[in-house]
């Protein structure tokens, strides 16, 4: 496996709708913030990775590493663009970790960025799914529609997911209200969630994450180069491709109750990190709640509970404030927002904030091990990372 790779700097822009800032502005701002957080200069960085999912959909930027190199003036060094749908950011981290372990670089910069609000929603993801997809196989498929299929199957097999979906929305908005970087900083009531306009199946508007502008960044080094700094180890990180893109819903491999990509990526990441009882060994989770039903099935796919028990887990309060395993203390995609390529990096930034004890009022007391999980495409792929405090305290232990 090689030596542990650690984050020594973590930063995120505020997430939201920023008509006054472009893609390059977001990228430049977050790189300046993360290098300051790590106590390095850009000159110290010798390779970079950029996670952006959909270049030429919302803007004409992000289609190559150039979209990161240009706004920060990073010349003469390799900058690689990584695209893996909604897991683009986490997979960019995975690439950087692999390069550091292989000693092809010493200081790696990872940036995730997406500038989605320059076009209306009908011009962005809907266009991607409906108007630019396969001529017949993707016709009628929308993002909420993919997860609506899961919600209806869940209803048929395990019972009505509505109360649990409402609980997820309320929990994540409550966290988002407390997060100064969140896109939506307001709580929602059960009545508001359940009266929201319908999108697909039981999924309504307040069960869905927004499209968002934002960027997040990490500075990664090998642990031996951290020189006693505050650090967070990427102790396990894995990706799994499981389903096709246009053919995801025709796959006989899918049980339509969750995503095998998450299950296999989690198994691999847990093995790397030595996690055997994730609910007990992990202190805080950032997972892919693109829709509220997704958070429910993610609990099960990540092994935080048994099959069919996701509903009860959120309804028990275990994943909320003060619970045994707080989930999405950032507000999640649901309230913090979902600039697609930025999301995976943002998750690790938030986990770093937790294990470094700087999450403010959202701090999970004593958090030392966190989990980040991103699901990409129509469940096609997933990335899972286990992040563990590796600061001076660990070095001294």
């Amino acid at each position: 496996m090689g030596e542990d790779v650690v984050a020594i700097g973590a930063a995120s822009t505020k997430f939201g709708e920023f008509f006054d800032r472009g893609y390059a502005d977001l990228v430049r701002d977050v790189v300046r913030a993360v290098t300051a957080d790590a106590g390095i200069t850009l000159a110290d960085v010798d390779a970079a990775w950029l996670g952006t999912a959909f270049a030429y959909t919302y803007s004409d930027e992000g289609n190559a590493g150039t979209s990161l190199a240009e706004p920060i003036g990073m010349h003469g060094r390799p900058v690689t663009r990584v695209a893996a749908y909604c897991a683009s950011g986490l997979d960019a981290i995975r690439q950087a970790v692999a390069a550091l372990r292989a000693h092809t670089c010493d200081v790696a910069l990872v940036v995730g960025a997406e500038k989605m609000r320059d076009v209306g929603p009908r011009g962005s993801l809907v266009m991607q799914h409906v108007n630019r997809g396969h001529p017949v196989l993707s016709k009628g498929r929308t993002a909420p529609g993919i997860f609506g299929l899961v919600a209806e199957r869940y209803r048929a097999v395990y019972g009505d997911p509505r109360p649990a979906m409402t609980a997820v929305a309320m929990k994540n908005h409550a966290y988002g209200e407390l997060n100064p970087r969140a896109h939506f900083r307001r709580a929602v009531s059960a009545e508001q969630v359940e009266a929201a306009p319908p999108l697909s199946g039981p999924i309504g508007l307040l069960d869905a994450c927004p499209t968002t502008d934002g960027a997040a960044a990490l500075v990664l080094v090998r642990e031996s180069d951290s020189h006693g700094r505050r650090a967070a180890a990427i102790s396990g990180i894995a990706m799994s491709n499981d389903l096709g893109y246009f053919t995801a819903n025709t796959s006989s491999r899918s049980d339509l109750l969750g995503f095998e990509s998450t299950r296999s990526a989690a198994a691999s990441a847990y093995e790397q990190a030595g996690v055997t009882r994730p609910f007990d060994e992990i202190d805080v989770v950032e997972l892919h709640d693109c829709f509220t039903i997704t958070e429910v099935v993610n609990y099960e796919d990540l092994g935080l509970c048994g099959k069919g028990e996701g509903r009860d887990l959120v309804l028990s309060g275990a994943t909320g404030p003060g619970g045994a395993l707080p989930v999405n203390t950032s507000g999640g995609l649901k309230a913090c927002g979902h600039p697609i390529g930025a999301t995976g990096v943002r998750m690790v930034v938030d986990v770093c904030d937790q294990v470094w004890g700087r999450a403010g009022v959202r701090q999970v007391p004593g958090a030392r091990t966190g989990l980040a999980h991103a699901l990409g495409g129509p469940g096609s792929l997933a990335c899972v990372a286990v992040v563990t405090d590796a600061g001076p305290a660990r070095a001294a232990a």
Binding site: V130, P135, G145, G148, E152, P198, T247, T250, S251, S252
Partner: protein, 441 residues
């Protein structure tokens, strides 16, 4: 004329009905069968073909699909792709105003038995024009199991300058047309036919008429001394407009008449064409009814959509190469079977998604199955939320697509369903057809 038989027949009558508002607005009969919003001339033709026994090679295909916006060869190619049509020896398009007798007359003169297709896909020509009946009929000529074509006849005359192919503008004129057309041409044509068939009116169970005005059937039954005169499809179309209905009605009445029955078919307008059909060798057997399910509303229609004046959202750009490469298998529907693990999947692929083997071969898939899950999607660009459905197909493979429009109820997990070919959208100037999901039975 040598004797020609009808070996098999299959019909499709769309089950949709206009809602009260559209019935009033278009001055239509509430009983008239109209196509659903996702049905068109090709899908009606396809539905009628699904009821015929499958063959690898067809004789000449005689084809009247007057309201299709794809070329005749594309119609044939689409039907060939999913196996409802064998490889035709030749394709002979019939004129848009050809009636059922024209088809029978042509078939009777071919050296080789062929396949006949008559399709009426009717939308009103403009605001205020009433709905007229839509239907599709497919007949395979050959051994006379269903019927014999005992005689055909035609008259080509230029008698009245006030005949028209559309509905008459007022009742007085309609009566004039009826009197002139049916009395003069109908009498003569019927006499010609009976003489050619060696029959008398006493042999006829009735006469099926298509013409440009609504007939008073009892009046003409009395005049012609036959038990019944039926007007196929409501009688509001022009000559040939209800050709499919006329053929289906004639064969239906022939079956009801029993082993000694005979029925005449008259298509009147600028003269006319006619045929006499007599009972086939299987007349004692009760055949299947034409495919049609319970009546469905048309809430998805707005008035503009019904008249074909709604603005359709532009479909995606489609690569002609991709269509050429992929659509035949998608229209099959053709999937694959893995020779290593036995797994079956859709769409066609070069690798088994279940075990990773490259030892896969194309496999036609069943068109029935069970709903695994579904989702009513409100984001889809449509006047009515579209239900998306995942179907576990009988015999293996999984399908994902839209439910048909105005399905009587939303589909639920566990429902038995069937796949039907429907029009998805128009893109790059071409209609795109794909499978949709309908309740089975």
């Amino acid at each position: 004329m040598h004797e020609v038989g009808i070996a098999d027949v299959s019909g499709y009558v769309p089950a949709y009905r206009l809602d009260d508002y559209l019935t009033r607005e278009t001055a239509s009969s509430p009983d008239v069968s109209v196509p659903g919003p996702d049905e068109d001339a090709f899908t009606l033709m396809w539905e009628s073909l699904t009821g015929l026994p499958r063959v690898e090679a067809e004789g000449p295909v005689l084809l009247r699909v007057p309201d299709s916006d794809i070329e005749t060869r594309a119609l044939v190619a689409h039907a060939r792709s999913n196996g409802v049509l064998g490889e035709p020896a030749a394709v002979i398009p019939l004129a848009p105003d050809a009636g059922a007798p024209d088809l029978l007359a042509l078939a009777a003169r071919l050296a080789q038995p062929g396949l006949g297709l008559l399709v009426d896909h009717r939308r009103p020509a403009g605001a205020g024009a009433p709905a007229t009946a839509s239907a599709a009929a497919a007949v395979r000529f050959g051994p006379p199991r269903v019927a014999r074509v005992a005689a055909v006849a035609a008259r080509h005359t230029l008698t009245f300058d006030r005949w028209r192919t559309g509905p008459a503008p007022d009742q007085q004129d309609a009566r004039f047309v009826e009197e002139a057309l049916v009395a003069v041409e109908g009498d003569a044509l019927l006499a010609d036919l009976l003489k050619a068939a060696g029959r008398t009116t006493a042999d006829l169970a009735g006469v099926v008429v298509t013409c440009g005005t609504r007939l008073r059937g009892a009046r003409w039954a009395k005049r012609w001394e036959v038990p019944s005169v039926w007007q196929a499809g409501g009688g509001t179309g022009g000559p040939g407009a209800s050709a499919a209905h006329a053929l289906l009605t004639a064969l239906d009445r022939l079956r009801a008449a029993g082993p000694d029955g005979a029925v005449a078919v008259l298509d009147l307008g600028w003269g006319g064409g006619g045929a006499v059909l007599t009972a086939g060798t299987d007349a004692a057997e009760k055949p299947a009814e034409p495919a049609a399910s319970a009546a469905r509303g048309t809430k998805a229609y707005g008035l503009a959509a019904w008249h074909g004046r709604a603005t359709e959202a532009p479909g995606p750009w489609t690569s002609p190469a991709e269509l050429w490469r992929e659509m035949p298998a998608l229209l099959g529907p053709t999937g694959y079977r893995c020779s290593d693990c036995g797994g079956i999947g859709f769409p066609r692929a070069g690798v088994c998604e279940l075990c990773g083997s490259f030892e896969v071969a194309d496999r036609p898939l069943r068109r029935t199955g069970v709903v695994a899950t579904h989702s009513v999607d409100h984001l889809f660009d449509s006047s009515d939320p579209v239900q998306m459905v995942v179907v576990d197909l009988d015999g293996g493979g999984r399908f994902f697509g839209q439910a048909v429009r105005d399905v009587p109820r939303r589909l639920a997990v566990g429902d038995r369903v069937r796949l039907v070919l429907r029009r998805l959208h128009t893109a790059s100037g071409l209609p795109h057809y794909f499978w949709k999901v309908d309740l089975d039975g």
